[in-house]
Subunit: 395 residues, 2 copies
């Protein structure tokens, strides 16, 4: 979905020694400063500007964390349940003086100050979060305090909520705004932030916290590919927060994993159909496979699920291939799984294991580098996938 | 902001005898059915489609209501406080079996069925609401039940929240999507729904409830004008819902009215600047005034505030006019107010009264017809302004 046009230095909040503005890695020659002048002329012309995507991103996660090994001992579970079983090393948690507003204020302020941007240069600001501390007043309105001295109040966008999807919804909205007649030549800022905490029990080690701000506009080094997007929306009670006075979600872990994998199947199917359609128009007739991705990053509830998901995508490729070679190569030994239907395999340990093994090298090359922050900080909910993106870019 | 291209029959849920699908006023020759075939070819071409806006809208409000006169007696306040003072006749309230999900399900189902649309024909669905009954699971996901039989799960968009602004944010997002590269030729559906209830006290008579669904796409009879939009975003604690376990907001009524009027001033200023800019490019050099609006509709917390707001807009015109005639005509007798600054007048009863009187005829002609639903059902929060639009179209 994202195309990398050129490698740009990313701003990256280090765990124990966050750099102050004076140590900003962009320096005086940041590409944004150069692009700034040519932004306005592209707006309002009736055509989409070039290369709309992410110009910069800023990550914040808490300085405090729990070692998952120690949590295993504290919870009295078998050694390795959280570390090897879930693939998690550490779990970040907020200090007493932090909340969703402070996390989001931090990343937006740093994004603008380190990018040497003017607060006037932002025409849209949207927050994706499910950490609701007020049912009516959006986090975005709190962030407007940062704009006060500039006098800029003409800033569209507001808060967007659905579990971990709010960040991606905000990014899509921002990109559409830049391509629309409403765009006035200014930047959009997309903020994702959440504090993931669970009641005592199986889900507790999958917590985490953090926020990410992204600068969105044209001429971006990370471009959102046009016409290639797969969405799957479904009514399910796998993860929800009906107890409004509680920080904790209600989670049906097994159902949630099934929902995740089914959404993955459907989104990949839609994506492949669209990609193959674009190829056909260009005269190319062949199936889209994982070979065509340079990197594959995921929303990461816990790292082990992501590894299973790479196997799942390979299963999709395998079942869609007209005549796969099961005597040698990638699909060697997978012939017994040939007649399967995707929807019958969500709980099959045998299928999961076979395709996880077969996809190990793909995972190592295309996905593992993206899991640095997820494994050491945990699930940030809405910013999770963008933490994977930052992890990938930082390596 | 909206341009009326042609008058189309609107679907309108009557209070006591809601028409069933068999009585749909659109009939077999609904314009949408004709437009359907030509939608897809416009997508993905790199240019904005023509006349993006509202193709149809569907309104639902509760059958139960309180007479404001009776509420005055019950509350032991002076007669006329709610009816003449607030301008409210009746207040709708939900039955015990209704909630935000049922309101939104109703309008979406009716919009699609009465419009003879296929569930496959919808590529985006977004809900603007501040009636939060789950902090994570969006109302949109509940609405996906309606799509189940069609197999269509590739539907973008999610819930959007900030007080009464969520509906407008959703409409703007939908219009931008239709103009963007993400548009695949299908319709967007925008849903606004809320249940407004207040604790005992001054704000209680300003409650209400309802939901509105809008079909958004190109070739619309109601077009969103391009490049003409004013936004004002500000951090304020005038209306918020920090008690997550309570249905009731915390309201500072006086501050809230000031926030409303300041936002009105700023949005009108931005709007006029943009409109005058477009005129200048076309060779026309004159100030934009209320004369240039055919109708003026407002988010309506209570009807009296809307009447005051028309006066407020006239004050804006008056102070911006280089040399207004105060001897005769619209501004007759307003000379004493000539040196005022807008920001000094938010609490002045004298200014309010003078400009409300001066703008009475503008209000009667351009705004009053839009207040039917607001005065008889109350404040629906996010759907409020679209209830005004429906009221205007229905007369």
């Amino acid at each position: 979905m994202l195309r990398l046009v050129s490698r740009a230095a990313r701003c990256w909040g280090a765990r124990r020694a966050p750099p102050g503005p004076e140590r900003a890695p962009w320096g005086g020659q940041h590409p944004m400063a150069v692009q700034r002048a040519c932004l306005s002329s592209a707006a309002g012309t009736g055509a989409w500007p070039k290369d709309v995507g992410i110009l910069a991103l800023e990550v914040y996660f808490p300085a405090q964390y729990v070692e998952q090994e120690e949590l295993e001992q504290y919870d009295g579970v078998e050694a390795g349940k959280y570390t090897r079983g879930l693939g998690q090393q550490q779990m970040g948690f907020c200090a007493a003086h932090e909340d969703i507003n402070s996390l989001c204020l931090t990343v937006v302020q740093r994004l603008v100050e380190r990018g040497h941007l003017s607060w006037d240069a932002i025409g849209r600001l949207e927050v994706g979060t499910e950490t609701v501390i007020d049912k009516s007043k959006a986090v975005k309105t709190v962030l407007m305090q940062l704009f006060r001295d500039s006098g800029n109040t003409d800033v569209e966008g507001i808060d967007t909520t659905n579990a971990c999807y709010g960040g991606t919804a905000s990014l899509f909205n921002a990109a559409a705004w830049v391509e629309s007649s409403a765009w006035d030549g200014r930047y959009a800022v997309v903020v994702c932030g959440d504090i993931a905490v669970y009641a005592t029990g199986n889900a507790r080690p999958t917590g985490g916290a953090g926020a990410i701000a992204m600068l969105v506009g044209p001429n971006a080094p990370l471009v959102l590919e046009r016409g290639l997007r797969g969405t799957h929306m479904e009514h399910a009670y796998d993860f929800y927060k009906p107890d409004l006075a509680s920080e904790y979600p209600v989670v049906d872990g097994q159902l949630s994993i099934q929902c995740y994998l089914r959404a993955l199947d459907r989104c990949y199917a839609v994506y492949r159909r669209k990609a193959e359609g674009q190829w056909r128009q260009a005269g190319v007739q062949r199936p889209f496979t994982l070979d065509d991705f340079r990197f594959i990053i995921f929303h990461t509830p816990f790292c082990k699920l992501v590894q299973k998901s790479v196997g799942r995508l390979l299963l999709n490729d395998f079942l869609a291939a007209p005549n796969p070679d099961t005597a040698a190569g990638l699909y060697k030994g997978l012939q017994p799984f040939r007649g399967l239907k995707l929807e019958d395999t969500y709980t099959s340990k045998e299928v999961e294991k076979a395709f996880q093994t077969a996809s190990q090298e793909i995972f190592n090359q295309k996905t593992k580098p993206s899991l640095l922050l997820s494994s050491r900080n945990g699930n940030m909910y809405t910013p999770s996938m963008y933490g994977c993106l930052a992890s990938l870019l930082a390596q």
